[in-house]
Symmetry: C2
Subunit: 597 residues, 2 copies
């Protein structure tokens, strides 16, 4: 039976909740709320939705996560990358500004939530492992660039389409003539202020004698100040009459609760996007949760997190929201502000609800350009092109995966980018393991160690070929192993024994087992013995389960040293002074010596 | 520069060709020709083509392979599985009996040949490695069953459709009432005779005093005798007038030479099938070639084989044939009959050409039921359902792949079966490597060895966690490693050091490197040291190429013993008498002891 604490972690910590906990959680919640209100409006706009939908998505999902999540400090809600993916997905099935678009957004959240729950139930969370770090980090970088580019039209105050980098640039170039200079001024000023707040406000405050942590928290409220300032400017100068586009009336009140209707065609259309959003959201969220949990030595349950994010998305769906996940920036703020339990999330939800009920009229005059500036500043911090160059030095395969992901996200779309990245990662991995490192090894003089004959001065014998394969043996490299061994045998007429050294073989699948049997059988027909050495325990157990030993005529040696000592009867095994550089010269030298002695 | 001998292996052996070689090759060619004539007619029928097309496909391709192939004894031509795949592929684009069907067959051979050449040029031959032994063997088993079932209608003398096992059985059940009993009698008799020849003729001949090898070769001519007998029966009893369907007039003469026209739509329609046929044909052919080459310690060049099979298929295409590859049965016959060089293939081609020119009138009265019986006997020898049970005991994953391949081939089609098999193999492999075996290890008392603490009595310390991961570290298991380590750290409050033991790590990709850096960073924040031990040379080289060591604060130990000896300062490292069964009891025991001393 599953314990209730596993499904509802809140049962574990709530009984020991103290006043100190409550105070800390309340402070953290206040700061996160201040940060989340403008972000929620902005990310809704990014998803092509009316701004208040962002607030709706920041209330109920937080409560759901607080109930089911295993992270004490993760803050969920709308995030940039998922909002971009939402816009791409629902933009294909409905037109922006229609009620169908709103329904599609809620449906996408519902599907994403159901996919999460299904994955949690079937323990398929491991699928997210195939979104490699390389793919995710380059995906986020490319999304950041794409999002920033998509916001430029608001900064210019023009109408322009495009959902890929080339089409966005093309549309902007065509429409740049219609730039509204009030808008541009207010947008660029906001952008500069926001960058300054992010980079320089904290050092200035610290310099002025404010404590570092307080300075940090004050700096987090900076964006709200910029927003207040811009609203004030519009109000005083009546800029909305001079072509500056404002957010406009935001309906105040509780989010409408409704279960999205089951529309099978819409569900099928949105399902692939829901799966991708779910995977990306999960990977982003669990990375943040794990980073923060590790700092306090707390545990994160991956499967339970999947369940909690599923619940959060379903909560978003029934309260007219759109897909949500754990966000990096807000979770770090929550953590730094001293949040101790998920109740901080519940308090934040209450804060956002209060804003939804009472503060929405204040945002009527907020210029869209300022929201765009908020988004640009947030997403540009996600762009990490240096990772590309770091990876270039380490692994060309990983670099190729990253570059392809970025190029496809920018030029085709977010979903194409992820799919290309994942498929390429898998192909490169399979390719690498299908041509494993296979070394011909020899004995290091004076030791029982065997090393690569091409790298070290070692003792070998023309009658015995010691081959070490540095990879598990499975279907994709079984033939490669066969080729290598047959080739080695064909070029060594004196050969009497082949010993396959298996210390790095963690698995032999059925296809590779067939290959090993074929190698043994064919070498036997050619008068060459075939043996194994240093076979690992679990691999040996598996071999014993099969009928391998009914046919296998060779020997299994505990160590390569045993193998050579046993097989080289009549040959001297002690280390010898005359050792050559390369294997080939070795063999010939040994031959000459054999002939002489 | 590439040597001419590599492209044209014939240059290597032709100059030293002797009269003895020629005699042996001629004898082998005669026997293979006798075997190949009825097979060629039968496999053409299987592919839905007129019988003489099978002869055409057994002339020029043999010459092309003799020029370019690296196997001395491989015999190419139409084979059962590829013929079935051909029928499935061209049946989708043209109707049987039309000239479009003939064009499609030749075009498929051309495309398959071009795909082969392209793969040889781009060294993509390794792609065939992803057709695992499990997939290929179960694919061949299922194809054998499907082919045998598809021939039953000829045995009954009825017209019935169907291209999957259920539809074939359904069609047969509906049409069984129209059975022609002359046909059934002649078919079943042929079937019984062919089975008897295959199983019992050789032992009888040996018993009668014939030398084993001669008996073997005589047994190979058995099918031709059965065919001659059936033709004679039809002629004497004029069975063709009693409803027994005969092969009918076969046009005599040279194959018409023509380059298939470039029809882009047809090419695109056939390309996926051509790629699959090429891969399956290549795997089948190279397995045979390697088996035979190993017996004589000869070498097979995988890439050159791809090139040679490409040339053979293009030769089939320009001589109005259909896709060909190296066949198992005929190659073994060729080898056993004493073929020494590819000239045996050229002689066989001349033999088949002679049959095409002069013998075709003899086959006019050959009953289709007897050809069907030939096919059934040939393919049932390919069916190996026992492999399924053998694999079941060894690996459930491989068993699932095989069962799925068989079910899909039989119920959906040959292409679906292969695709499902390959995709499942890859998923299972990735799944297995994404959740690698990770052991907490301890020191075996009195040695420097470290073993799994759950399997052996070992010494561990509550302050030091030694973890061995038995798999290369890559994106799909990077998170699993992180989870495992964080979990271990969270449950061990006394922990001061984690040592990751890497003797089985053959690769660390960029994503796994990020994970290791994250682990190191997070453990450091939690006050725990993170170290590596027994890192392999190539992995270390790669780490040195990255900026890993600029951030890494831990130590790299040559051996786990070094690591524990260095880190456990103040702890006794020598073996101790009190060693517990499991790690957990271990830790508590150690704690108690620490508290006491």
């Amino acid at each position: 039976m599953i314990k209730a604490e596993r499904i509802l972690p809140i049962i574990e910590w709530l009984p020991s909740y103290t006043k100190t906990n409550a105070l800390n959680d309340l402070v953290a919640a206040a700061i996160v709320t201040i940060m989340l209100v403008p972000q929620s409006l902005a990310y809704a706009m990014l998803a092509g939705l009316p701004p208040h939908i962002g607030l709706y998505a920041s209330i109920l999902p937080l409560v759901a996560y607080a109930l089911f999540g295993t992270s004490r400090t993760l803050a969920v809600g709308p995030v940039a990358v998922v909002s971009l993916m939402t816009a791409a997905a629902i933009g294909r099935v409905a037109a922006q500004g229609t009620s169908a678009y709103l329904t599609a957004a809620a449906t996408l959240a519902l599907l994403s939530g159901l996919v999460s729950l299904a994955m949690a139930a079937s323990r398929l969370g491991f699928l997210s492992n195939f979104l490699s770090h390389s793919v995710i980090s380059s995906f986020i970088t490319a999304s950041g660039i794409l999002i920033a580019a998509s916001q430029l039209k608001y900064l210019l105050g023009v109408t322009a389409g495009g959902d890929t980098l080339p089409t966005i640039i093309f549309a902007l170039t065509n429409n740049v003539g219609g730039t509204n200079f009030y808008t541009l001024f207010i947008g660029v000023t906001a952008l500069a202020l926001l960058f300054w707040v992010r980079k320089n406000l904290k050092p200035h405050l610290v310099h002025a004698g404010v404590a570092a942590r307080t300075a940090d928290l004050i700096a987090k409220t900076g964006p709200l100040a910029v927003i207040a300032l811009s609203i004030l400017s519009v109000d005083l100068l009546t800029l909305q009459l001079k072509g500056v586009k404002i957010v406009g009336n935001i309906p105040a009140g509780f989010p409408p609760f409704a279960i999205p209707v089951v529309d099978l065609k819409l569900w099928l259309d949105l399902l692939p996007a829901a799966i991708l959003i779910n995977l990306v959201g999960f990977v982003e969220s669990i990375s943040v949760a794990q980073t923060l949990a590790a700092k306090r030595r707390q545990r994160i349950g991956a499967n339970q997190e999947l369940f909690a994010l599923g619940a959060a998305n379903i909560a978003a769906a029934v309260s007219a929201g759109f897909p949500v996940t754990g966000g990096f920036a807000r979770s770090v703020v929550n953590f730094d502000a001293g949040a101790e339990t998920p109740l901080a999330g519940v308090f934040t939800a209450i804060g956002i609800l209060a804003a939804t009920l009472f503060l929405t009229p204040m945002f009527r005059l907020l210029p869209q350009a300022v929201l765009a500036a908020t988004i640009i500043v947030a997403v540009l911090s996600l762009v990490d092109l240096k990772a590309l160059w770091r990876t270039f030095g380490y692994s060309k395969a990983d670099f190729t995966v990253m570059a392809a992901t970025i190029v496809f996200v920018l030029s085709v779309g977010v979903e194409a980018g992820i799919v290309v990245g994942v498929v390429l990662s898998i192909i490169f991995y399979l390719w690498r393991t299908s041509t494993p490192h296979i070394a011909i090894v020899g004995q290091v003089p004076g030791t029982e160690h065997f090393r690569n004959a091409e790298r070290h001065k070692v003792i070998t014998y023309p009658e015995i070929l010691s081959i070490r394969v540095d990879e598990s043996l499975y279907f994709a490299n079984a033939r490669f192993l066969e080729d290598t061994i047959y080739d080695s045998v064909a070029t060594r007429p004196e050969l009497k024994h082949v010993v396959l050294m298996c210390p790095a073989v963690n698995l032999i699948d059925a296809s590779a087992l067939e290959s090993i049997e074929a190698i043994a059988h064919r070498l036997q027909e050619a008068g060459v013995g075939f043996h194994l050495s240093e076979v690992k325990g679990p691999v040996m157990d598996a071999l014993k389960r099969s009928d391998f030993f009914e046919h296998f005529k060779g020997q299994i040696f505990l160590s390569q040293f045993d193998a050579v000592r046993t097989l080289a009867t009549g040959l001297r095994v002690e280390c010898e002074p005359a050792i050559e550089e390369s294997l080939s010269s070795h063999l010939s030298t040994r031959n000459d010596r054999e002939n002489v002695t």
